[in-house]
Assembly symmetry: none
Homo-oligomer: 251 residues x 2
DNA sequence: AAGCTACATGCAAGAACGTGCAGAAACAAG
DNA sequence: CTTGTTTCTGCACGTTCTTGCATGTAGCTT
């Protein structure tokens, strides 16, 4: 078995079972625990898993179910959301992604804002119903349970009719080399489709996303107009990003 | 079981049940109380739970309270919803309308139901995200603020692709001569469009709707398979309806 | 006040860990 | 084909971490 192949297997196993026990996998594959540990260490360094005593878990907050995620670092998300809301001045047509950070953005919008918000997240849409001046447009389709957004062919098709000024995109990982990543292939495709429909795409990257990577690439770092985060500007990953010429907006 | 995973479980349990009894959890997981206590101590140190004698509580007791409060519905709507939920047995493809009664139906569905629910209401869609076995399909379009559902040409077009067993329709008025009515023309058209896509249409008619009429006609009484209500069978309007041969399901 | 339960701490056994090292395998150069 | 280099893998060793138990203390209940 090739090493790369083995790491691939580990990632898939991590996704399907939600955890990896080093001892069990070693036994199952007939190789030493040391190799497994080395692999896990590498994957963790690349931000693709979280190393814990005894094995590994998925990159912490990204895989956990929606409800627990809602409570993860609310402050960080709120700061990012507040900054992001400034990218939607009156009169804007904005596409809002799904996910907890995007939801926080919706809630951060001024109650009297007059704008058009397009979203494929029912949750975001219902959060905006109170905003009398906001025209809401929902992209329909089959709801992908993991992050509660419409994905798939119908949704991509519906998105094709949209033209927006800005797309505020959520991801689960922002990594200097891996770029922007998320946990599902369909979701990644949907984000790309939405990105094409907006003049500018900004990434919502609360603290726990920085320096991590997930399974599926969404876009390269160069493909977005900017990354909104609240980590300190001297964070090593952030330094790498600015060194690459990426526009980083700090909350 | 990995230690990190165990702490995760404790947090989730804390959220869902509102408390943790160290002894019980230890027994349930088959590990010593000491480990549980150690975990709780750590979580408390990280500010993720509140340590109390015998176990732990969520940091803010508001979380558990809020959830129960949100689920409290006026009795009438709840009774209608419970009866309506029985029209969605496992395997059904059902269209769920928007509005508070339809939302109550969504919440009344068994958590383990396996079915396909189509809706043009983001609120209903997000209420169903927790139901792992339910495939959700959202009809997109411009959101009509009054009742927070997708209406208009795009929504009607999207609805055309749907074929369902049953449509649970909300209205604002059920009247023996005026028929089924609602407060907005676009909404009425949307309801008609959805009704055409289902084999049977049932009306959700909580007590305050019976005997009233609104501005725009949706359908005639004869066009629906039945009306679900919780008013007493000897209510005068209900008597008129049954006299007309309308199928009335009493909750 | 008495009895019981939960608690924190210390301790020891075992598990998992990282590191250094050596052999094996893959690869490139001669 | 041979030789040297690099990479990968498994083993050994000392270290660190976790866990259950024992002990003495603190807190709740009656």
């Amino acid at each position: 078995m090739l090493a790369a192949q083995r790491q691939e297997l580990l990632l898939r196993r991590l996704e399907s079972e939600g955890r990896i026990v080093a001892k069990d996998i070693a036994l199952e594959l007939g190789i030493s625990e040391d190799s497994i540990r080395r692999d896990l260490r590498e994957l963790a360094a690349a931000g693709l898993c979280q190393r814990v005593y005894g094995g590994a878990l998925p990159v912490s907050p990204a895989i956990a179910d929606l409800q627990t995620r809602t409570n993860v670092q609310p402050d960080s998300k709120l700061r990012v959301a507040t900054r992001a809301a400034r990218l939607i001045p009156p009169g804007t047509t904005a596409i809002l992604d799904g996910g907890t950070t995007a939801l926080a953005v919706a809630r951060s919008l001024p109650p009297d804002l007059r704008a058009t918000i397009v979203t494929h997240s029912p949750t975001v849409a219902s959060a905006l119903v109170d905003h009398a001046g906001v025209e809401i447009h929902v992209i329909g389709g089959r709801i992908f349970k993991h992050s509660a957004v419409a994905c798939g062919a119908a949704a991509v098709e519906a998105a094709a009719g949209i033209n927006a000024d800005v797309f505020l995109m959520g991801v689960t990982g922002v990594h200097p080399t891996a770029g922007l990543t998320t946990g599902d292939a369909d979701e990644a495709a949907m984000k790309r489709a939405l990105s094409r429909r907006a003049a500018d795409t900004y990434v919502l990257a609360s603290a726990e996303k920085i320096g991590t990577a997930s399974r599926f690439a969404v876009l390269g770092l160069a493909d977005v107009a900017g990354i909104i985060t609240d980590v300190a500007p001297d964070h090593p990953t952030l330094r790498d990003l600015t060194a690459l010429g990426i526009n980083v907006l700090t909350a």
